[in-house]
């Protein structure tokens, strides 16, 4: 009797020690559900060959405590493609649930409410949908991180979260939540990070959020569409380091109270409808590194008092209605890397000291009314990548130092009043991909030493550049666009130019170029557009031009080209625009192929050219070098005579 009693006790003990599902069974159920029909992964989550109580603890991504309960599940960036089953609720000891970027779908099961030990719940970068079941968090009193960023959750923002006393990181961004931001979110006093960006939220931004004294980072913008503006109360968020309310239809003025955010490092308010001035009180933001107020309706000037903010690394003010000078202190900022203030009404000159901090990477001041010379030291640190000055009234010469700036990627200074010679070093820059110097008063000649694998766009048109076109241009192996038009280039077109395998647009019009069109033009088969018009080119049109299978636009008008129009041009199906007017061409315009599509204007101004699409032109055989100025008609009559005489011959 005692033996059977003991047996019963042991049996009972064993029975109660096991739950309805073992940890192993739960994990295997998770696997089958999360690796959906098309998914893969979790290959090592298998029933062990020999029964072992700890086998599941060796599964990848699984961590157990000393009692073999699963405390951490971290399975991320695998293409699981399945869904989370209700059985997840059985992992009662789970502290960390991180399933990021696994392409998971479906809803979050309400059984997750049982996971009351959770500190970290991160299901970001998946495709979960439906409303977020906020009630599951009611028991998660230890929760510190709730991250559901980048999913397809919809409906209202969950209110149940306000009861969480330990929540530090809340990221609900990148979903389709709608409705207002709950005022009660101000109760989550422990919050250090709040992300609501990239949703469909509306209504006013609640001023009550200003009570979140521990908040370091708040992100509310992008795709949301709020009423009104930034609550002035936000000035009391004393711990705030990062404030992002960009691109969400904010209106009204910038509250001067934002100047109280002593710890603020990054302020993003771009692409809104903010108006009024930049408050000078913002100069109290002595830790501010990044200021982006671009694409708004701001007026007034850059406050002088901003000179106190030595920590600036990036200043974006582009596309506003700002006026006044660029203050001198901007040139003295010790850490400034990016200055983008284009599309405003700034006047006066660039600060002379700009670039002396040796850290400047991007300078974009285009579309303003700036004047004066270019500061010498813009590239002093050898880090300048983008120099964009176009559409201003800058004058003077380009500093020679600019020719030494090997870090340059983009040089766009067109439509200004620069003069002098272009520094030779610009033509051998290893990283420069865009060189746009057109529409200025540059003079002198292009250097004979030219080489780069990076340069794709070279435009020096509409200047006063003379000399020969350097053959070394052929060293620009990746050049796609070459614009030399409206200058004073003379001499011949170097045949080497047509060795450029990627050259697509070539414009040398309105220069003093002489000599013939090189026959090597036929090798340049990426060409889509050629303009050699308004020069003094002579000789014939090379028939090889017809080999250019991508050529859509050919303009060689206003030259001294002679000889006949190569008939091969008629079979260039790609050619949709042709201008050979005002030359000295002879023979006839073939009445076939592409020629049938072009207007008179394509051929006019060639006195010895007969347009056989309109009149009957004598056969090519009858033309000789002694074509007179009588044009077509004389030949027409003599052809008629010949025909009559042949006919008579056949009768006789």
């Amino acid at each position: 009797m005692r033996k059977s009693l003991w047996f019963l006790v042991i049996l009972l003990a064993v029975f109660t020690a096991c739950s309805a599902y073992s940890e192993l069974e739960v994990l295997l159920k998770l696997k089958s559900s999360m690796t959906g029909p098309k998914g893969s992964g979790l290959e090592d989550w298998e029933v062990p060959s020999r029964p072992s109580p700890s086998a599941h603890c060796n599964f990848s991504g699984v961590t157990c405590d000393e009692d073999l309960w699963v405390v951490s599940l971290n399975v991320s960036f695998q293409n699981l493609s399945g869904s989370v089953p209700p059985e997840i609720g059985f992992l009662l000891k789970l502290v960390n649930l991180t399933i990021v970027g696994d392409n998971l779908t479906g809803i979050l099961p309400v059984e997750m409410a049982n996971l009351t030990s959770l500190k970290i719940l991160n299901v970001s970068n998946n495709a979960f949908n439906g409303s977020f079941p906020g009630e599951i968090t009611l028991g998660m009193t230890q929760l510190e991180i709730l991250d559901i960023y980048d999913n397809n959750f919809s409906g209202l923002l969950p209110i149940e979260l306000v009861y969480l006393k330990n929540l530090k990181h809340l990221h609900l961004g990148g979903n389709f939540f709608s409705g207002n931001i709950p005022e009660s979110y101000s109760k989550i006093q422990s919050l250090e990070f709040l992300g609501l960006n990239g949703n469909s939220l509306s209504g006013k931004i609640p001023a009550s959020l200003a009570r979140l004294n521990n908040l370091k980072q708040i992100s509310l913008g992008y795709f949301n569409a709020y009423e009104g503006g930034i609550p002035p109360e936000f000035g009391s968020l004393s711990s705030l380091e990062y404030l992002d309310v960009a691109s969400c239809r904010l209106s009204g003025e910038l509250p001067s109270s934002l100047g109280q955010l002593k710890n603020l490092q990054k302020l993003f308010l771009q692409y809104n409808n903010l108006s009024g001035p930049i408050p000078p009180q913002l100069s109290s933001l002595l830790r501010l590194k990044v200021l982006d107020l671009s694409v708004n309706n701001l007026t007034g000037e850059i406050p002088e008092s901003f000179s106190e903010i030595k920590s600036f690394t990036l200043i974006n003010l582009f596309l506003n209605h700002l006026v006044g000078p660029i203050p001198k202190f901007i040139g003295d900022l010790p850490n400034l890397e990016v200055l983008q203030i284009w599309g405003n009404n700034f006047t006066s000159q660039l600060p002379e000291t700009l670039g002396q901090n040796g850290k400047l990477v991007v300078l974009d001041v285009c579309y303003n009314h700036l004047t004066g010379p270019i500061p010498r030291d813009l590239c002093k640190g050898g880090k300048l990548k983008s120099l964009i000055l176009m559409s201003n009234s800058f004058s003077g010469q380009l500093p020679e130092e600019l020719g030494e700036c090997k870090s340059l990627n983009k040089l766009r200074i067109m439509s200004n009043r620069f003069n002098g010679t272009i520094p030779a070093g610009i033509f051998i820059m290893p990283q420069l991909s865009i060189m746009e110097l057109h529409d200025n008063h540059f003079s002198g000649e292009l250097p004979s030493e030219i080489s780069s694998d990076a340069l794709e766009t070279l435009k020096v048109s509409r200047n006063e550049i003379s000399g020969n076109i350097p053959p070394a241009i052929s060293n620009l192996g990746n050049l796609q666009t070459l614009s030399l038009e409206h200058n004073k280039f003379y001499g011949e077109i170097p045949r080497e130019i047509f060795h450029l395998k990627h050259l697509s647009k070539l414009n040398i019009s309105s220069n003093n170029i002489s000599g013939e069109i090189p026959s090597s033009i036929s090798e340049c088969n990426s060409l889509t557009s050629i303009d050699l018009s308004a020069n003094s080119l002579s000789g014939e049109i090379p028939s090889g031009i017809a080999k250019l299978i991508n050529l859509g636009d050919l303009d060689i008008s206003q030259n001294h080209l002679s000889g006949q129009i190569p008939s091969e041009i008629g079979s260039m199906s790609s050619l949709v625009a042709l201008n050979i007017s005002y030359n000295n061409l002879s023979g006839s315009v073939p009445a076939s192929g592409q020629f049938l599509a072009f207007n008179n204007t394509s051929f006019v101004g060639n006195p010895n050219l007969c347009d056989s699409r309109i009149v009957s032109c004598p056969s090519q055989l009858l033309y000789s070098a002694q074509v007179s100025n009588q044009g077509c008609m004389a030949w027409f009559y003599s052809w008629k005579l010949m025909f009559i005489s042949l006919a008579l011959h056949s009768y006789l």
Partner: protein, 168 residues
């Protein structure tokens, strides 16, 4: 995955992304929609950067003085995928050169909105469906070449109203 992801992951970097800034960029958006819809193994569309203010620095694009797109030159570019209705937004487009590729799908009827169009070259592709009658609205059209595709159905009568047509 939420549609917003690609856009503001670049938020974290200090340089901002412009969405639709000046009206010129709706042309850039339209062309970028085309880019997303095409397969481009030779990377000819590599320069088509939608974060730029307008598409005028993009290769294979030509703009006029007002930064409006006048030419798209993508013949012989090894492209596949399909055309997009957004192409119809390019109100100043004169030359649409997409010949000798492997583009499939239909001709969007929105191409009939390209009121400045002089040349529509879609020949030598894999384009299917019928020729939209809306092409009859293209009053400046000189070149209309749709040969060597898989088009079916009748040639719309409306095309007879395009008196400028010279090459079909």
């Amino acid at each position: 995955m939420a549609a917003q992801t690609w856009l503001w992951t670049s938020l974290t970097v200090a340089v901002t992304v412009i969405l639709t800034v000046v009206n010129g960029n709706s042309e850039g958006d339209a062309l970028f929609t085309l880019r997303k819809s095409l397969k481009d193994p030779d990377n000819v569309l590599q320069s088509w950067d939608p974060t730029l203010v307008n598409p005028c620095t993009w290769f294979h694009i030509t703009c006029n003085q007002d930064n409006r797109v006048t030419r798209v030159d993508l013949g012989n570019s090894n492209l596949s995928g399909h055309l997009v209705p957004e192409l119809g937004k390019l109100q100043h487009l004169q030359y649409l050169e997409l010949y000798k590729n492997n583009i499939q799908g239909p001709i969007p009827s929105e191409l009939g909105n390209l009121k400045s169009l002089i040349s529509l070259d879609l020949y030598n592709n894999n384009i299917s469906g019928t020729i939209p009658p809306s092409l009859g609205k293209l009053k400046s059209l000189v070149f209309l070449r749709l040969n060597d595709n898989r088009l079916t159905g009748p040639i719309p009568r409306d095309l007879a109203n395009v008196s400028s047509l010279k090459v079909v």
